[in-house]
Symmetry: C2
Subunit: 403 residues, 2 copies
């Protein structure tokens, strides 16, 4: 491949992703679904402008390059997700949010795994099929709270107890989700036994805490001396890439975990928003569109049949229901009254980028089939559209009652 | 190569490039030279942390990937250079700046070519050696005016006749330089004859003017409706990649020409600075450091000997002298009095990124040997340090005389 050929593919991806992204936003769906659909349309399913694989089924030059760019995009997304963690906020809301988050991780995890087994038959512990089932569950764990936040902010309910609880629970839920994913992916490696996996995971987090503590204090000093300068986001990016690499290479822990932890380390910095904004520009200009479009490019619509469609439908129902039931029940037990538990459950049910990243990880590990992308995309679209509508309806009814 | 391995290399490049970039700036040298030296140090010449080539001399996986990233970096740099062209400004300063620019392109071009031939022996028209000589000349054509602008601004002389003349001449000199490079690279292609090359180059510029006119007016409308929104720089980036590809694929014209023209097309936009700033963030975070570090990575110090060092010294002298003499003489003929011609000549003698990009292009075409990188880097460092000092000295002496 000549070097300049890549520019054609990048131009096509950027243009289509932007047009469909804007289109999705106009239809009140998240922009990323537009970018995924753009990938579907320029890919082999429809226009066939970009092929990531050669005739032999192996990735071709452009597939290798875009795959690597998408991988950088994933790290930037996970790093930004980490940066948005507010440790001080978490301490305040404390144990209630933690319990809700735990329910919001484990009930969807178990429900998703059981759904797969119920649909395709039980799978013995440790078998290939078992890991596929587990990944279906793992996809359901991570809440994408941005759409809920947007909806609550519009209604002026973000700083209510319900609002802050949702926000904190969603953040803790990311951390627990990453932890569970890390352990699950470690188990998957046939060369490691369970004890070793747990040990290495533990060691990585220990390493991250020690190194994180040191780096945080160094960067904090640099940030005070040179606030809002280029070097701050550059240090952040270097930390993101370093921890991603170290996690995989030395601890056998997923690189996305490293990127996320790098973000958490810098999240208490005064300039964490500044870093986040600069990362965002890199993300939305090139790496983000390439990642989301590549999801679409890998989704093979021709594989679709009634069977997978029915599964996707059940997957969406279980995905939404398990969060509402899990988080809602725990909230009720914790003393939330009236419609508040439902609000919390609904607020926690939106899914987004991280669900896709988990699915993508499953695909590249050879655990998950690419046809489940359809299910994940459907879940993201439906949850993102439904959450604001349901929340607004509940709040409106509450206010009508109060009068 | 595992996908996560690339993060190690990116982290190393980003960290070293930033540290040496800051170091260079503290020593009043341009930041890019620091980034190049970072590449030298992490490359096979010193630490050997990154190898772009396998034992067989062919690029390895990481070499291919970083090469592609560097290529994107080059397009972003050329696009930004194009964006900074102010067509309205050019019309004002008019014919004087044009004539100075022409001298500033052709005298260094001829001097550089002759220097090579004088040093290594005459080369017949069209031979391999002739093209190497021509590329040595081509490297000398492009002025990098940013350091001169900085110096003039500090002294409050930027808006004097001398200041605006230098600025305009430097911009025109980029356009003419690109034109000459495009034609020279077209000639180099053995499958094309001279007539065809000139025809295709002409057709490309015709295409660029027509398409540019249409796109400029469409983007202008979008910019009025949605100023300062993400879509503006995204459209810019897509245009940059599209024209880079179209130039190479359909007209056989260098992709950097396409990227530069894309910048020129959007340079009259109200939001051209906004686009430029967003591109800059992409550039300085990842693509820029990768490009400049990869120059260092490709520079083989072990190849250095007295012969190439002597050549480099002569190259720097000819590089600086040809601009001073060329631009200075023409300025004097155009009526500039006293020390003004020398100021213009000195102001035009700084070189920067574009000189490196031309050298890189010569290397990837197989025309230029990588050892000449040393000469180019030396020229950039010396010209960037010398220009502000000389300008300040001349202005100080003028003021002392005036008293």
């Amino acid at each position: 491949m000549e070097k300049y050929e890549v520019f054609k593919f990048l131009a096509v991806i950027i243009v289509f992703a932007k047009i469909f992204g804007i289109g999705a936003r106009k239809l009140k769906a998240p922009q990323v679904t537009g970018e995924i659909i753009a990938g579907l349309i320029i890919g082999p399913s429809v226009l066939g402008l970009i092929h990531l694989k050669g005739p032999d089924g192996a990735p071709n030059d452009i597939g290798i390059f875009l795959g690597q760019m998408a991988e950088i995009g994933v790290m930037l997304l996970m790093f930004t997700a980490g940066l948005e963690t507010r440790i001080s906020e978490l301490k305040k809301t404390g144990v209630k949010a933690l319990l809700i988050a735990c329910a919001g991780v484990f009930i969807p995890l178990v429900s998703g795994t059981l759904l797969y087994m119920g649909y395709y038959g039980a799978a013995p512990w440790g078998s290939e099929k078992f890991y596929e089932a587990l990944f279906i569950g793992l996809i359901l764990t991570a809440t994408s709270v941005s759409i809920t936040v947007q909806a609550l902010r519009e209604m002026g309910k973000l700083s209510t107890t319900v609002g802050t609880t949702i926000l904190s629970a969603a953040i803790i839920d990311d951390v627990i989700g990453i932890l569970v994913l890390t352990i699950a992916m470690g188990f998957r490696d046939p060369t490691q036994n369970i004890g070793e996996t747990l040990l290495m995971t533990g060691l990585f987090f220990l390493f991250a805490i020690v190194v994180g503590f040191i780096i945080y204090h160094i960067v904090k000093k640099i940030d005070v001396m040179h606030p809002h300068t280029r070097r701050i986001p550059i240090i952040g990016l270097a930390l993101c890439f370093s921890l991603s690499y170290i996690a995989e290479a030395y601890f056998g822990v997923a690189d996305i975990t490293g990127a996320f932890i790098a973000g958490v380390i810098l999240s208490s910095l005064k300039d964490s928003d500044y870093i986040s904004r600069k990362m965002d520009i890199n993300s939305y200009m090139i790496f983000g569109p390439v990642f989301f479009a590549s999801i679409g490019l890998q989704t093979d619509i021709t594989n679709l049949n009634a069977n997978i469609l029915l599964f996707s439908l059940l997957f969406v129902i279980v995905g939404l229901g398990s969060k509402i039931v899990g988080c809602g029940l725990v909230s009720r037990c914790l003393g939330f009254k009236g419609s508040d538990p439902v609000k919390i459950g609904v607020g926690m049910m939106t899914r987004g980028e991280v669900a896709l990243i988990v699915a993508q990880r499953g695909l590249s590990l050879g655990v998950l089939d690419s046809r489940y992308f359809t299910s994940v995309i459907l879940l993201i679209i439906i949850s993102s559209i439904a959450t604001p509508i349901i929340l607004k309806t509940i709040y409106a009814r509450d206010e009508a009652k109060a009068k």
